[in-house]
């Protein structure tokens, strides 16, 4: 009887330890996580693990909750200008680089959100990465900015996923944003999924976009 109790205690402890030590990843390979850990450290790894968890928990949610979860998750990451963070004028980080370094600018938010939502099954034609002009509150100055937009129907007003105004809003409710130009990444995404390593000139010709796609 006593032995049985010991055995149960031992098995319980073993299970607990294995549960703690197991990485329990769903959407990211452990190899990738190891690479991130090695390159960016433990904190970065925990961010990646949290990201994975967000993806997993959002999978069964409706579209608005998916949008919100993704938007909220990435908006928690610190904003930093490219020239300070990357030492380059206009650097588009891949989601792993963005999470790994734990900071980025507006493009990095938009891109990371785009890929996460694509991972959650949101159709490509509903997502667009949009260049906008942002009027800063309380000033006359405007600055170039980038947001991710979600079109529920082709004719509907898009929902804006922004890192400045961190709440989800219809574009019509964002008078501070003026749309300039938008694009999708369908062709490049497919090319990437075919396993091509080099950047092929595709439907979208933005240099930074291609360079970023090659790093994902």
């Amino acid at each position: 009887m006593r032995n049985k109790t010991y055995l149960i205690v031992f098995l319980s402890i073993s299970f607990l330890i294995s549960a703690i030590t197991a990485q329990n990843l769903f959407n990211i390979s452990s190899k990738k996580l190891e690479a991130v850990t090695e390159k960016y450290g433990e904190k970065a790894a925990s961010r990646v693990k949290y990201w994975d968890k967000i993806i997993e928990t959002s999978k069964d949610k409706d579209i608005l909750h998916k949008l919100k979860n993704v938007n909220d998750f990435f908006n928690k990451i610190k904003y930093s200008r490219d020239n300070l963070h990357w030492g380059k004028n206009d650097y588009w980080a891949s989601p792993f680089e963005f999470l790994g370094t734990g900071a980025g600018d507006c493009e990095d938010y938009a891109i990371a959100k785009y890929f996460t939502l694509r991972q959650l099954g949101v159709p490509d034609e509903k997502l667009r990465i949009t260049y906008v002009k942002l009027k800063q509150r309380g000033t006359k100055y405007e600055q170039a900015h980038m947001v991710l937009t979600y079109y529920h129907k082709p004719t509907s007003t898009p929902i804006v996923l922004d890192n400045v105004n961190k709440r989800l809003k219809l574009a019509s409710k964002r008078p501070d944003l003026t749309p300039i130009y938008s694009f999708n990444a369908n062709g490049l995404w497919q090319a990437k999924n075919k396993g091509r390593t080099s950047v092929k000139v595709g439907k979208n010709n933005l240099k930074n976009w291609k360079s970023m796609m090659s790093r994902i």
Binding site: Y151, P154, T155, S156, T157, I159, R167, K173, P175, N205
Partner: protein
């Protein structure tokens, strides 16, 4: 195929592969580059056009839109620039405006339907629902409503495949005014394409086959244009392949021109290089050929290419070694030849030498005397004396004979021969009866001294006969013997000389006989001396044509004499021609497979007209040319070596063969054998007679065979009657023999 041709072929093939591969890769890369460039350009144009049109797209009928598109299209880089509506959006205003009854224009739309064959209608919902949901989601309650929403209702027409580009579409509208509802039908002309500019694709510069052969995969590029936040239109830009074709054609043309030029220059360089490389090979070939002909040259300027240099050195080495082997063989043969032709005791030539010397005299038509001298008392002397004493006597006797070799009269040339034990012969050239008489007297005096010295009763007799140019050796030997017998009758140590009046036949008689035989071809050709292969005795190699003629009394004429007379009266060429014709006829009629030897006189082979006649007749009978073997005796060859060399060369040009018969090293020095380019030699009978018992002869014949093998000459023997001799020459691996 020559080495140079093989080199040209293989290198041409390699060049072809390289240039073709290079050409294909270069054209393919250029094509891909041009495709990418064209499409990138089209995409950039679509993007920048989209950005330019963004500000104007709120009014899709704004003429500025068309102007901008035309301005871009007119630059000619694009096949088509097209602006399409992104969606068919129909407003209530448009629908009401299309109603013909103007009384209804103030009514409101209650419902709109469209026939399913055109497509279906989707009412564009206001965003308020979505806005509320978002407020709830973000825990916000206050909608500040920054943007005024229009009150106009809009419909999105989703067409069927047939109407995807628009067209005239029927709509059924129900209109409401207060409580009254009426229905109306309206037709709207819906256009998908707002502006379209096309430019003809021209390939003036590029040939049609090139356009048909290479297809450019140029995708249409597009850019979406948003009116505010919503997609409003799409601008499409199609690249014009004309320019890409022109550039690609130019590239392909230049590439081919360069390839051809490079190929030609490479072949020229290769030609020079191959000539340079192969030159030493030609020198080696020349050397090999001259070695085969027995000329042992060497290559002095060694080639630069290592492998060929090594071959040249090896060839030089081989040439020197063969030369030294042949020289060694020649030396051996000389020694053996001397041993065979000299009497060991007296150092005098033997009977075979006497016979050949006689033959030489016949050819040279010499004058002279032949003396037969015999030591009569040698047999009785031998009984009472030792061998040494006998040898001493013979030596002293031979000294007396030899002493005549040098008398004061410089015209005399005497040679003494030892036939058997006590029998000697002396040939005195350029000597008349008076001279012979004097010599005999000298001999007689000296013999007398010797007789007294050794205390003998009777010592020696001399019988002499003049040399008869038209006679034969046996005849003269017989005449000398007769004279000798007469001398014996005269008395001890006496001599008897026959005079020239003894000649057996009158010259006039001879002349008419020979002319008659030649003019009327009154002679027979027999095929004698069948020579069989020694290692396969069933194979008949060669027969000898032998002419025989009869005199008026029906007696056989000695052929040697006949030939001598014919030569004297310069009819021998006609005779030889007649014989050749008869032999050719014989070979053709009897379809002979073996070779036939035809004897030619020296006079004939010296005659240029005869040689060209011979070449001509052989050319006419080319089929049997290799069966004709022209034979010249070794002593005839020796008489005029240059003439024979020339004859041999000319005969070989026709494919016929040459044999030297009665071959003796005395007439043809072995080291000069290589110069004659012979096919066969037939050894003098003397060499094969009793060869089985004579080691010296065996060594001699073996050496000749070795030398002949090196020079590609077949060696035959003649009239080998003794079986032991036959087996012996068989062992020595001679090529053939007659028995």
């Amino acid at each position: 195929m020559s080495l140079s041709k093989q080199l040209y072929l293989i290198i041409t093939f390699i060049f072809f592969i390289i240039f073709t591969g290079n050409f294909i890769i270069s054209v393919k890369n250029t094509k891909e580059y041009l495709e990418v460039e064209s499409q990138t350009k089209a995409q950039d144009t679509a993007t920048s056009l989209g950005m330019s049109l963004r500000l104007l797209i709120s009014d899709k009928k704004d003429p500025e839109i068309e102007s901008i598109i035309k301005a871009i299209s007119n630059r000619g880089f694009y096949k088509e620039v097209r602006l399409e509506d992104s969606d068919f959006i129909i407003t209530t205003e448009e629908l009401i405006g299309a109603i013909k009854n103007s009384n209804l224009h103030n009514w409101k739309i209650h419902d709109v339907n469209v026939n399913p064959k055109f497509g279906f209608l989707e009412k564009i919902q206001s965003d308020s629902d979505m806005s509320e949901q978002l407020l709830k989601l973000e825990d916000e309650t206050l909608d500040l409503g920054f943007e005024n929403e229009t009150s106009d209702e809009k419909y999105r027409f989703v067409p069927t495949q047939t109407y995807k580009n628009g067209g005239k579409v029927n709509f059924e509208i129900s209109l409401k005014n207060a409580n009254e509802i009426v229905s109306s039908k309206v037709i709207l002309d819906i256009k998908k394409v707002l502006v379209q500019e096309k430019r003809e694709v021209k390939f003036d510069y590029v040939p049609t086959w090139f356009v048909n052969f290479i297809s450019f995969d140029l995708e249409e590029k597009y850019s979406e244009i948003s009116d505010g936040w919503k997609k409003s239109a799409v601008i499409y830009v199609s690249p014009n392949p004309g320019e890409a074709y022109a550039k690609l054609y130019e590239q392909a043309k230049n590439s081919i021109i360069y390839s051809i030029m490079a190929f030609l220059v490479s072949m020229l360089i290769l030609f020079v290089f191959v000539q340079y490389i192969l030159k030493p090979l030609k020198t080696i070939e020349k050397l090999a050929k001259s070695i085969a002909q027995g000329k042992f040259e060497t290559i002095d300027n060694l080639p630069w290419t290592t492998e060929i240099k090594h071959v040249s050195i090896a060839m030089n080495d081989m040439s020197r070694k063969i030369e030294s082997i042949i020289n060694r063989l020649n030396k051996n043969l000389e020694v053996l030849s001397k041993k065979l032709s000299e009497d060991e005791l007296t150092g005098m030539p033997l009977k075979p030498t006497f016979e050949t010397d006689m033959k030489e005299m016949f050819i040279q038509k010499s004058d002279g005397y032949i003396l037969k001298i015999k030591i009569n008392s040698l047999a009785s002397f031998a009984k009472t004396h030792s061998n040494n004493e006998i040898n001493k006597l013979i030596k002293e006797f031979s000294q007396i004979l030899k002493s005549v070799e040098s008398v004061n009269n410089s015209h005399i040339k005497a040679t003494s021969y030892r036939f058997f034990g006590s029998e000697f012969m002396v040939i005195i050239k350029n000597c008349n009866e008076k001279c012979a008489n004097e010599i005999c007297k000298i001999f007689k005096v000296n013999f007398e001294v010797l007789r007294q010295k050794h205390g003998l009763e009777e010592f020696s007799h001399i019988g002499g006969t003049p040399f008869n140019k038209y006679g034969t050796t046996p005849e003269m030997l017989e005449a000398a013997t007769e004279a000798y017998e007469k001398a014996k009758l005269i008395g001890p140590n006496e001599f008897f000389l026959r005079d020239s009046n003894d000649l057996t036949r009158d010259m006039e008689e001879w002349r008419s006989l020979v002319f008659d035989i030649i003019d009327n071809k009154n002679f027979n050709v027999d095929y004698i001396n069948p020579t069989y292969k020694l290692d396969d005795e069933k194979v008949l190699l060669m027969q000898e044509s032998f002419t025989s003629a009869k005199d008026n009394e029906g007696k056989n004429i000695p052929i040697g004499t006949f030939v001598s007379i014919a030569e004297k009266y310069e009819r021998i060429v006609d005779f030889d021609k007649a014989v050749i014709q008869k032999v050719i006829e014989h070979i053709l009629i009897n379809s002979l497979k073996n070779k036939v030897m035809i004897n030619l006189s020296l006079q004939s082979i010296c005659d240029m007209n005869f040689v060209s006649w011979l070449k001509n007749i052989i050319q006419k009978n080319k089929v049997i040319s290799s069966q004709l073997v022209f034979s010249v005796t070794a002593y005839a060859v020796a008489k005029d070596v240059e003439v024979f060399k020339n004859f041999s060369f000319k005969v070989h040009e026709t494919g016929a063969k040459v044999i030297v018969k009665r071959f003796e090293s005395k007439f043809i020095p072995l080291e000069s054998l290589k110069d004659f380019n012979l096919d066969y030699i037939r050894l003098a009978r003397e060499y094969s007679l009793n060869i089985s018992h004579d080691k010296s002869k065996q060594s001699f014949v073996e050496s000749i065979k070795e030398l002949a093998t090196l020079l590609n000459i077949d060696v035959y023997c003649e009239n080998v009657q003794n079986d032991d001799d036959y087996n012996c020459i068989k062992k020595l691996k001679l090529n053939g023999a007659s028995r």
